[in-house]
Symmetry: C2
Subunit: 605 residues, 2 copies
């Protein structure tokens, strides 16, 4: 069907080519200038369309979807400030390496900087935060231009999935008419859109990327260092779609077993949960996968050879322990980005983690080459890990929760009883830190996500719902009151995008994290400018959005949580805490573990 005018033609070709190149979903915000894109995506059968009214939330929703699937998600907005509202999510996509295709409608060149309405400078709007910026030529029924458009579409999508993946910005100028109105002669009746040549269907350009395999010499150097180590350690930091997503956890676990090395697995690494978390029986600790290190790592002797994947770990004690260890530290990162804020790496290997692990399994001896002395290294870590969880279990028994309500207990419960096959999204600030400390490794398949690229508390709800929109698994979001307020607009997606969630709201009325910082001692301005209690009563939101709001006492949380997981629709479980008391309790618990582990190790030595 011939397009009624050139703008419609442009939108259709772009949507068609993106779909053929693999785009499956787009988030749209309403606007006029973007009409050709909106119309084209809305009429395309192969692309799921999500409609949002706040561009900031739209962008985070797209980010969440792309984060969960590893597949690019597109975003469309009209010209002007709408595009700037995408900026926070673009920034997070950049740092977190999430594939995002941003399509901003724009005025044609003669209207730019002319005083025209809703016209701003959108050229390179996101600076260096995008992998690629380009501007489409103005629409025209011209064979060469259409070829160029199809090529640009294919390339833009491919660039979102490059090494590293990330956001791409395509600025799209359109002139009126923007609507699919017949403009005689604008697209000649005999105009045939160029599509994939060579008689094949599919994309105009098939794109494929090789995998970065380490050279044999580099692999052998790494294998030799690990094999010779007395205290080898694997550290799996937060994963992104490049580093760990297609890494076979069982292969890493096997490598660790082979080396008899502990794996310290960040809750966001993709390794702390899953069938590879091998247990001899239900009550034992997994061998090799460890999650309690935040409290005890400082008591351990330092590793001598470290192999690290993923981003910088969430745990500050772990980062500092690694920094202070006089160890050979190998960092594997496909784009070789030196994500090394503690500057501890001695060797950087720009290669695919899967290729590295597979190579090591080939190169390392199958049997156990370790001495008894060596073996005790992992056993000591395991003993500390056991001690950690034993003290936690005792402290967080239900009766303790009644007398000493504490945010960590909620995180413990969230992870311990999330269904096998679930997506758990954790907000920044305290929730992710408590997840790190209280989420015990389990054999359940939990996909744990957070916005740890730039670690903002904006857009948390939208990102979580975007992640949840792509799967039938239960979705659990753990968030704080400031993040919940910040993105309350994101709750509109519950109904508009058909997502259900269990939202665990840790409401401590302000920024509890500031109790962990020295500013706590300075009053004023501590309360007014840092803790910022707001007294917001979120319960009324159940009359605005598609959710049920329930205030839950800490002691009743476990029951309410399990009930919510069985209940259709969205429940917000709001658990009130005194952040200062939680902070004291967190410290006290950490001290108990630290002391116990120190005593154990002394006894060992």
């Amino acid at each position: 069907m011939t397009a009624p005018n050139r703008a419609t033609l442009w939108g259709r070709v772009l949507a068609d080519e993106l779909a053929k190149s693999g785009l499956e979903a787009v988030c749209l915000a309403p606007g006029s200038r973007s009409t050709p894109l909106t119309v084209a995506f809305a009429e395309h059968d192969g692309i799921d369309v999500y409609s949002h009214l706040d561009e900031r939330s739209a962008a985070f929703f797209a980010l969440g979807r792309a984060r969960r699937t590893g597949e690019p998600t597109a975003l469309v907005c009209t010209s002007g400030t709408a595009a700037a509202n995408f900026h926070p999510a673009v920034m997070e996509a950049d740092r977190a390496r999430v594939p995002l295709l941003v399509l901003t409608a724009d005025r044609p060149s003669e209207l730019r900087d002319s005083g025209a309405n809703q016209t701003v400078d959108q050229v390179k709007l996101y600076g260096d935060a995008v992998r690629w910026y380009t501007e489409l030529p103005e629409p025209e029924a011209d064979e060469r231009k259409v070829r160029s458009l199809r090529t640009t579409a294919a390339r833009a999508l491919a660039e979102t999935g490059g090494v590293p993946p990330g956001p791409v910005h395509v600025n799209c100028p359109f002139r009126k008419p923007l609507e699919p109105i017949e403009v005689p002669g604008d697209v000649p009746d005999d105009f045939t859109e160029t599509t994939a040549g060579q008689g094949r269907d599919g994309p105009f350009v098939e794109t494929a990327s090789g995998r970065q395999t380490p050279a044999e010499a580099d692999r052998d150097r790494l294998a030799a260092a690990l094999a010779d180590a007395d205290r080898p350690l694997l550290v799996a930091g937060p994963a992104d779609p490049t580093t760990l997503a297609d890494l076979e956890p069982a292969a890493v676990a096997e490598l660790a077993e082979r080396l008899d090395a502990p794996i310290m697995a960040d809750p966001l690494s993709g390794l702390r949960f899953g069938p590879h978390v091998d247990r001899e029986n239900e009550n034992s600790l997994p061998r090799t996968i460890y999650g309690g290190y935040d409290t005890y790592v400082g008591q351990l002797p330092p590793p001598d050879v470290v192999l690290r994947f993923g981003a910088s770990p969430t745990s500050k004690p772990l980062r500092h322990w690694l920094r202070d260890a006089d160890a050979r530290q190998f960092l594997v990162d496909p784009p070789g980005e030196w994500r090394e804020a503690t500057f501890t790496a001695t060797d950087l290997l720009a290669a695919d983690p899967t290729a590295v692990v597979d190579g090591l399994l080939e190169a390392l001896p199958d049997g156990d080459g370790r001495s008894e002395t060596d073996r005790s290294w992992r056993e000591r870590v395991e003993a500390a890990e056991r001690r950690h969880w034993a003290i936690r279990d005792e402290a967080l028994a239900a009766d303790a929760l009644e007398t000493d309500p504490f945010e960590g207990a909620v995180l413990t419960e969230v992870f311990a009883n999330a269904p096998d096959l679930a997506t758990v999204f954790v907000s920044n600030s305290m929730p992710i830190r408590d997840a790190d400390r209280f989420a015990r490794p389990r054999a359940a398949e939990l996909t744990v996500l957070a916005n740890r690229g730039a670690s903002g508390i904006d857009g948390i709800t939208s990102t979580a719902l975007g992640a949840g929109s792509t799967t039938d698994e239960p979705l659990v979001l753990v968030t704080g009151d400031l993040a919940f307020y910040h993105d309350s607009n994101g709750l509109l997606a519950l109904e508009r995008c058909g997502v259900d969630a269990t939202i665990v709201l840790l409401d401590n009325d302000g920024g509890g994290i500031f109790h962990e910082l020295p500013i706590e001692e300075f009053e004023p301005p501590f309360t007014d400018q840092f803790k910022t209690p707001h007294g917001l009563d979120f319960s009324a939101l159940e009359d605005v959005y598609d959710l049920a709001f329930e205030r839950v006492a800490p002691a009743d949380f476990a029951a309410a949580y399990r009930r919510s997981l069985e209940t259709p629709g969205t429940q917000v479980l709001s658990v009130g805490f005194d952040s200062e008391a939680s902070h004291r309790r967190r410290d006290e618990l950490a001290d108990r573990v630290t002391d116990a582990v120190a005593t154990d190790l002394e006894y060992d030595a």
Copy 2:
């Protein structure tokens, strides 16, 4: 008092110098990296501090305050996505020429692009949208560096008020400790902060700017053209702090009287309302100041000489009439920015409008040099204006409102009965267009504001509340449901920043403006992707924020509005409309005026 460490010293010097240079207010969002700035502003007696929890709303609030006062307002945030949340307001401040000083905390250089937490590339984050970008040196108790810091502070503030005014971005790296903790030796006991020299108090550098006065020859050329014109016209577009704010409306009115020229005054020009709107008696129309042109301008003969101040007018019929007139068109704009989306100007004069008007009053003959034929030009415009308002009055009588509820009637009432001395903030999309059509010129002092730089519907509530925070006048906000949803977070400022408002919410459940565009005819995707009805029930927000929510029938609006203006606190008056019906009624009314004016003119001729 010696600062306990260098970061504290830095914050204190910066706040001190900004205050001495004239900064009166700052909007703070909580964060850790920005601690030295937050502490310094909070402890400074001379600077008002507004605390916000959503950086996007914070930035729009600061924008509103700066817009209302013409004085720079500062903004502080922590590192990371927080800074990107400022972007939409920075964009608006750029296009609307509003002085805004953005202070973003950042990590020190060695932590940038290192994988450090909450660290993004903040260098030139807002691109060309700022008048000046600079980065502070790292804090140090060094005399030369402190001199440089004071100079930078003075300059940054001065740049916000340059020609044109606008946003300035100062990136501020800090390293730990960020809190005012004693660091022995960090700031020597004998370290004396450099302050203003020469034994004077006040700012380190006094800054002053000259006024752009037109050369005599240019002024005379303009005066001659106007004096010789048969159909001279003054057009006052939307004002910004440069173009019209310090222009004496009475002087412009006198110029128009002298030329016997109509002034077509945009509702945002600062000229449609005020004592200069001279009336012979309360019921007569003002001479020279006209506001109803949107409906009748197309029926008038074209002007032959036009003098235009301010931005491009809101009214599209006016813009098109000017474009199609074969006229000499003088555009006065201090920075000479060619804000000419219709490309109609024949002469651009980069000069201060006040200087131009004063110069013209000097140059033009005092008496009336016009023939009777010439005079009829203004009288014909006046007749059309009278006809416009007569038809409006008849159509909007209370009984008509009961049978034909219509959004324009609300705007009519809002402006007709806003108290003398009030601030009226009007949202983009339909409200500003209806304000243009239905706000009748009055002698009352109404400050009418909108975000017409980039014309977004984001941040409307916050901008209005920021404007209201600086005055004891009543504040009226007219907004639509999409804009109200978009910035619902901004409502937190009602309590946190102590602002009261009458919020008129025109709730037509979605984007009513799309009924005015050709996309209305394309279903799908019209309803789902453009009109986007959401069914949100905003009434529950009265349980979240400090406001009373009232649903008002169109026929009861006038009474409810007047009641609200007398009532302390904030009332949201939600008036439901069918946007499609409003659109039809708007068209029908415009047609009636157009027909009547066409008939009048025919009869005249």
